[in-house]
Symmetry: C3
Subunit: 282 residues, 3 copies
């Protein structure tokens, strides 16, 4: 069996950190297939890392996932492995990073603390637990070691939680938040796709993103809008997404990848072809 290990970090690929981790895995489990999710989580940004992880994990087979965004490396924060209902095992720091993804693949069925030195890369450094704790444990799991050999059980209720944005529909208005900015500058929102129907049959929606306002066309895919036209659609994650066709909305609104501004959506009832304030200012 070629066990799959997915891998998400904020390490980037300009230095050798990711390579070292993969070397350690290859030394323990040379038949494991390491699949990069991304190593471009904004540095130290656990919340963005959490959303990136949940965007990818459901599309993998049930497998081992290592995710490391770990500003508390070497402090008292616990290194953990979470077993999920679908059969996945998620490894990383106990700082909330893993929980959103765990909920999408069957929820938590068990948690262990990664303490057994037999399944670590020794000596364990103070500053690089991805290489010295998480990846070795993942490689041993991929190689067939049972999760309960890695350390004692933890109470799932003891795990550190992240704040989660709420998406509401009140008084004809959707209130939600940006949870991700992709490579093309589209803004992924927390609101599920079916909230778009709540706004009725409007062809256009007014979107207030942080302190910026933009009128967007409701479409099924990018190519239905003119080049550069603002649009809203249900994206490939099943969530709402604000975008420009073939242009970069995040750049235009001055939103960085780590930003998580609130978003308010309401139907446009007057002439939808009236330029938005955003466009008028140009």
């Amino acid at each position: 069996m070629d066990a799959v290990i997915s891998f998400l970090t904020d390490f980037g690929t300009a230095d050798t950190s990711v390579g070292q981790c993969k070397g350690v895995i290859a030394a323990i489990s040379p038949k494991a297939l390491v699949v990069d999710i991304s190593h471009a989580v904004p540095h130290y940004d656990i919340v963005t890392g959490s959303w990136m992880l949940r965007s990818a994990v459901p599309h993998f087979p049930a497998c081992v996932h290592v995710a490391v965004v770990d500003p508390g490396v070497g402090t008292a924060r616990r290194p953990i492995a979470i077993e999920c209902g679908r059969g996945d095992i998620l490894l990383g720091p106990d700082n909330g990073l893993l929980l959103g993804a765990a909920a999408l693949v069957g929820g938590i069925t068990g948690v262990v603390e990664l303490v057994d030195p037999a399944f670590r890369h020794n000596p364990v450094s103070n500053t690089f637990h991805a290489r010295d704790i998480f990846c070795p444990a993942a490689a041993h799991l991929a190689h067939g070691v049972g999760i309960h050999l890695l350390g004692p059980n933890l109470d799932p209720r003891s795990l550190v939680q992240l704040p989660e944005p709420e998406s509401t529909f009140v008084d004809g208005t959707v209130r939600t938040a940006v949870v991700g900015v992709n490579e093309f500058g589209s803004l992924a929102l927390a609101a599920p796709g079916d909230m778009l129907a709540r706004l009725g049959q409007a062809t256009h929606v007014r979107a207030i993103v942080g302190d910026r306002e933009i009128v967007v066309r409701v479409v099924g895919t990018f190519g239905e809008a003119a080049t550069g036209e603002p649009l809203i659609l249900v994206d490939s994650y099943g969530r709402l997404c604000l975008s420009l066709n073939q242009q970069d909305l995040a750049q235009r609104l001055g939103i960085a990848r780590a930003d998580k501004p609130t978003v308010v959506l309401s139907p446009v009832l007057d002439d939808p072809r009236r330029p938005s304030p955003e466009d008028q200012s140009r």
Copy 2:
């Protein structure tokens, strides 16, 4: 057999799109070996993507190749798989991206439209066909499914074509175009390497690149020129290439990766050591 699937996109690696695609492949064909060609095609740039694809595909074994630069995703453009004389199968949108590479590995021997829902990742989104159509089909092919199960045959003559730059030699002058800018800032030209001989025994060549002019030395490899010296050589693709030794010519001339300026080459008959206008302006 570990089937190889090469992978080229304009998705970048800052978000999780490429990771999701690889997860889908691993779920269908865990023994497939996905090899990244690059994910840094300039966004929406089908022409540059086409040239990048043809630079790489001939160096692979006959295998499955997924290439996605797809501004028309979700519109009427067709998702296709092209079977080639060497045995390769190229998958991607019917927008011209795949045809240049197909010609280099034996030409088109068959085309199908990827419509069978049994070989898609369901539900198919409107916006991410790499994950939902192209990569699942590639994984099934790598797993041994016959191409004709994926959908009905298409007439190869019905495929969308890209304009192709012509390279000519007229009146002692080569006229061609830039088709790629590499990481080091070298300019790959459409003209095949043997066109250099048409310019005679000149030790130096005058190159007009868009509206810039530069005198370059004819060399066999970079190290024959002084550091920073402009040069022309036959590059590793067998085409002409303009470069500076150990410096970035594209940056110096203000040429972006997506730019495709025309290039005119003529032999320098006077003193080759006379500084070029480019150099004089410094």
Copy 3:
């Protein structure tokens, strides 16, 4: 057996060079597992590449390693393979790049020059020996070919050496140099971790980095310092490291990834909480 081939270059991943190399390997040895160490060595920077290689190679199993930073490609510099005491084989240009890593995995036990055309990708270009010489040779080695089939033996004493920074402790002061800047902006020093003890029990150390001076706190891991606080620790390479907790020290001091400034460390004997000159200027 799935042989592992690690891969380090200065090619970047914006063009298809790395993909072409992997295609060539897959054509020769489809079961080989290519593991990227990094492709972001600063262009032409053999010294930084050497330090990156030695940071990663010891964490791999004994395997084949290809490392290419090769400004002299196509000139008289020799293409080589170095056999090491641990069983690793390092392939790359004879320009000093490989020697530091070789010393960390058992030292040199043999060297051959890669000249046999049977183990090259033909025709060999003048400008891309990673694709045409180093990766094919690595793939044949991974596939079971003996190293001595690749070409004649070379005298290890004939190999090109790089200058190595010295780390000294004289008059209560450590003198060393930066050897790497990681993704987070930490400065890896040449000095081994145990040199920190030579500075005594000081809680703070004065660090002169090039022409900049900074007072740093001695810690065991990043999280022991306040956010943004300058610190020194023994990093995951077992060497000294200057950093800011969760901020970018290299950016703050204006140090680029290729820079290798000297560093002088001395214990702070007066009030350690006095702001450093660096901080006073803000």
